[in-house]
Each structure stands twice: as structure tokens, then as C-alpha cells.
Amino acid sequence: MTIFLQATVEGLSLAAIYSLVAIGFVLIYKSMDVLSFAQPALAVVGAGIISSLAVDRGIPFWLALILGIFLTGVLSLIIERTFLRPMVGEPVFSVAILTIGIDILLRTVLDSWIGINPRYLGDPFPTFGNFGAINVGGVNLKFLELTALVTAILIILILSVFFKRSKYGVAMRATSFDQEAALAQGINVGRIFGLAWFIAGILAAFAGFFITGGFNTLGQFSFLIALRALPAVVIGGLDSIPGAVVGSIIIGLTQGYVAYYQIPFENLIGFSLGSGFSLLAPYLIMFVILIFRPDGLFGTEEVERV
């Protein structure tokens, strides 16, 4: 039972991280029909900015965290303005490949900055170590994981209020519904694209911090964790924010349970699934779900006209 609870907690905190990245994917996809493969790269770049501010420049941690997250949003905005704006109206495939180019660009610069040794992001509570942990009935609760969970829930709440109540939120929904009709209503669609990328950048940076914070550290392969938000988005459906959250929970929990129950299960069936199978499980689930529901669990079915 303890193992089960531990796996659940870790799975949920992973789900929180995935959902932050996944919502970014969905926002960009809904606003401009672009699947941005650069999102995981933005997450680790955000962590890199935080680390360079907090550790290399010596800026107080909390200030560095806020500044780093904001700067990632700005970087994301710049990317949209320079690379994505000329591609409006081009085939989806071309734009997706273009974002892969951006991803290569961002990660190469980041990797050369990281170097061989993983980077540390700084920690305002040096006495705890790794942001501390608490033990409740044999279940080890890391504060960083709990914070990730709370932050993700808060951000999702804020975003849902933003989309329902605020002027720009409604404008974003209108744009995702029909860009030309939105233009005719006096909505600045270009600004909405920028806003979607800005929010996605900020969410990615949050996720980047939770992935690499404390003793997790930022290495050259950290982006693979953020990349696992992609299966989450696909499971939920590319154009559904609730879907992204549900998909993230499915992926996160699967990964958590597989990590803890793989060895007993292997003993049961009699052959090895291979080390690191828990990292593969999200992709397998995506594979299976897409066979039965090509548009994901919550995605709207595409209407095609000849």
C-alpha cells in the first residue's frame, strides 16, 4: 500500500509537470494550428536561464526564478515573431518541421552552455537540501513535487478564469474558433498568436524549473522529460485543454506505477521488459489510444472537405 501511494504521489507530480508543458502545446495549437516541437526545448532553456541568473550571476533565487520564467516567455514571443510569423498559412507539416529546427537551435546553444557537468539551479533553503521532504506514514513527499502539483493546479485555475472572464481570454477563444471572423470583430489576431506563445513559454519555464530544480539538475537529456508531454497532448486531443490535463494525469500515473511495479510484473510474466521501460510506457499508451481514437480522447473530430 505504501508503494502504491508513493507511486501515485510521484505519478501525480509528474502529471503536474507534463500538464504545464501540455497546456502550452494546446494553446499554441489552438491559436495558430501549429504543433510546436520547440516546447520541450523552451522548458529546459527556461531552467538554463534561471540557473545562469541564480548561480552564475548570483541574483537572489526567488528574483532569478521570476525573471527567468518571464524571460523565457519573452524568448518564446521573439521566436513566434521571427520564425513563425512568416509561416502563417503554410502547410502544418512544414511548420512542424520548422519548430524542430528551432528546437535544434535552442538545444545546441543550451548544451554548449551546460557543458559536461549538469547545472544546478540554486536552492533558497540550503538546510533542507533538495527543497526538503516530509515523511507521512512511510510515503516520502518531496516538497518540490508537492509545489509542482499545487502550482500546476493554481495555474490551471488561473488560466480557466482567464479564458472565461478576461477580454484577451475571450479573444483567444474567438481566434481559435475562426481566425477571419475574429479579425472581422476587431481582434488583433497577430497579438493573440504572440500572447499564446508568451503564455506557453511561461508554462514551459515553470515545467523546466520543476524538472530540473534542486538535486535533479539540468543536463543535456533533461528535455526528454518535457518531451513526454507530447504523448499526453495526443492522448487528450491536440485541441483540448481539459484533454491535455487528463492526458498528463494518465501519462504521469502510468510512468509512476510502471517505475514501481515493473520488477514484480516482470517476475510474474517471466521475461524482462528492459531497463527504463517506464520512460517508454507513455509512448506505448499513446500508440494504443491513437489506434482506437485517432483524434484523442477529448479532441474534436476533424471535418474534411474535398
Binding site: F83, I97, L98, L105
Partner: protein
Amino acid sequence: MRGRPNLYTDYNKESAIFSNNTQKSWFFIMVAFSFSLCFTASEYWIYLLTSSFLMSIAAWGLNIVSGFAGQINLAHGFFVGIGTYTSAVLGGIAGANVIGFELDMLIWLPVAGITAAIVGLIIAPITVRLKGLNLGLVTLALVFIGSHLFSNFKSLTGGAGLGRKVARLKLFGIYLENGYQIGDYFLEKNQILYLLSLTLCILCGLGIKNLVRSRAGRAYSAIRDGDIAAEAIGINIFRYKASAFALSSFFGGISGAMFFTVSGGVEPGTFNLLYSIVFVAIVVIGGAGTVLGPLFGAFFYTMFPAIIQLLLHVFEIGEQSLPLNLGQIERILFGLFIISFLIFEPRGLWGIWFRLRNYFKAWPFSY
């Protein structure tokens, strides 16, 4: 119709492999030139050219599925890997923890392609159902599933970090790894590889050209331009999408079987996400949906590290004085090339070539 190269009087002439004598003569000049390079070029250039030939075979494969049939495939590296390991098992030497049968190249080369094609067919029920971005994402999953399998089937692949030796070069029962004596002339191993790759490349190139002008090629283009419309005019979507995937994997498998014989060994970590993306980039940079494009792209991709080194040498910039190392500069430029080709010249290098050719065709009336 002498002197009127663009006047076609029947369909057969228009869809011929070489539509006029100029193209035909250029083709044979280039082939003769490429064969002569084997005996004149330096070892480094022979290596680069061999890689380019093999890369372009794989890129042609991806071009069938992405360029002609219009389906996103981010997992081409996975099929290349299947080709590599099939050939390594069939043609390689058995080691302490890997199996190998040391068969002839006549067996392992086609079987590598066929195995990759079969795997392409096995996943066809999934890939055919999906289209657009979802297909891209499923193939992305395939990359990760593939690299997991490659690192865990240790008896076939040697396991992550260790790797294994690939297939031996044994053609018609003769081992060619230490060169081969023909009369007075001694052919080095790299020259033999060069000749083999060049021959394969020419055969595959003609094969692609033939495919494009065949019934299947036209069906692929119809599916790319509008799959519902294609279905309405009686094209069996399942059959052609699946066959596009299988053919594409076949080319990938052939290329993979040969590619690592240059270096002699292969490690499962090679077939990562970036490896698959390289092929997509080659097709995009070269020009998707064209016959010559992937060839241009593959040459560009393999040659451009050498070009950067040459430029650094010409301008006498020391490698140490740069903030990034060469590999990083290459990757940054690579990313920039993908982005700028998509924004400024979506038809790729082939588009540039096409415009240049037309410019000089109509010269001096270049407008």
C-alpha cells in the same frame, strides 16, 4: 522534332526517364565522372562521397512517404536501424554476446531491405488510419520504442554503450575488407565501398524515377494532394499508403545495411531522435517531392561540415578562438538551414537549381 526539346508528341516521350538527349548525356557524363572520382579523389573525399550516396538512398526512401505520398514520418531512422541490425546479424561475426552468421552480401543486403519493409507493413494499420500531425506523433513514438528495443535486445545489437560489429563485406564469397587485387591495380576497401554505394545509388535513383512515373507514383501524388478526392477516383488508400511506408522502409533498410560498413561498428544510441530528424531535414533542404532533391540534400548535409572546415581554414580562424566547437556550429547552422529553407525556399535546393536552370535557359531574356 529536332531542336525543340520541350515539344512532346506523345505521353511516352513526356514520361520517359530522360525526356531529352541533353538530360541523357548529362546523366552519363555524371556517372562516368563519379566512377572516375574513385581513382582520383583523396581518401577523405571518397569517404564523404560514399556517405552522401548512402544517405541519399535513405533520403529517397523518406521522400517516397513524405514527399510523394505526403505522410509525415519522423521515424525513418528506426527503419534504417532495422536494416543495419538485420544485416549485422546475417552478415556479421558472432561475438562473445552477439550472434552473427557471416552470410554473403547478396543475401544480407536485400534481406535487410525486406525486413525493414515488413516492419513498415506491420505498423501500416496504425499509420494508415492516421494522418497529418497525429501520424507524425505516432512515428515519434516509434523512434523511442525503436531505441528502447535496440538497446535491450543485447544478443542482436550488443546493447547500449557497447554496440557490435556490422556485416562483413563478402561479395560472391570473396572477402573485400582488406582490398582486392584486379590485375595490376589494387582496390582499397574504401574504393570498393565507394563503387558499391555509387552503383546502389544509381540503381535506387533510377528506381525512384521509375516509381514516380508509374501508376503507384501517380497514386501517391493523388493521395498527397487530397486523400478523399483520391479515394473518390478509385485509388485504394490503404494499399497505397501501406506500400509507400513499406517501400520507404525498404530504401532505409538498404541504406542502413551499407552505411555502417564504412566505420565497421554500430551502437544502439546512434538511432536516436536526431538521427531520424536528419533525414526529414535532408528531404526538406533538398526539396520534398522531387527526384533530385534528396540527392542534393544528402550531398549538402554530408559535405557541409567539410565546407565549414574549409572556410575556417581559408579565413585562418583557429578552432580554439571560437566560442563553440565545430560540431555545435554544424548543428546550429543545420537548424538555421531547416528554418530558412522552409521560410524562403520551400522547394529546397532543387527549387534553387530549377530557377538557376530556367534563368540560363532563357538568357539573356531573364525575366
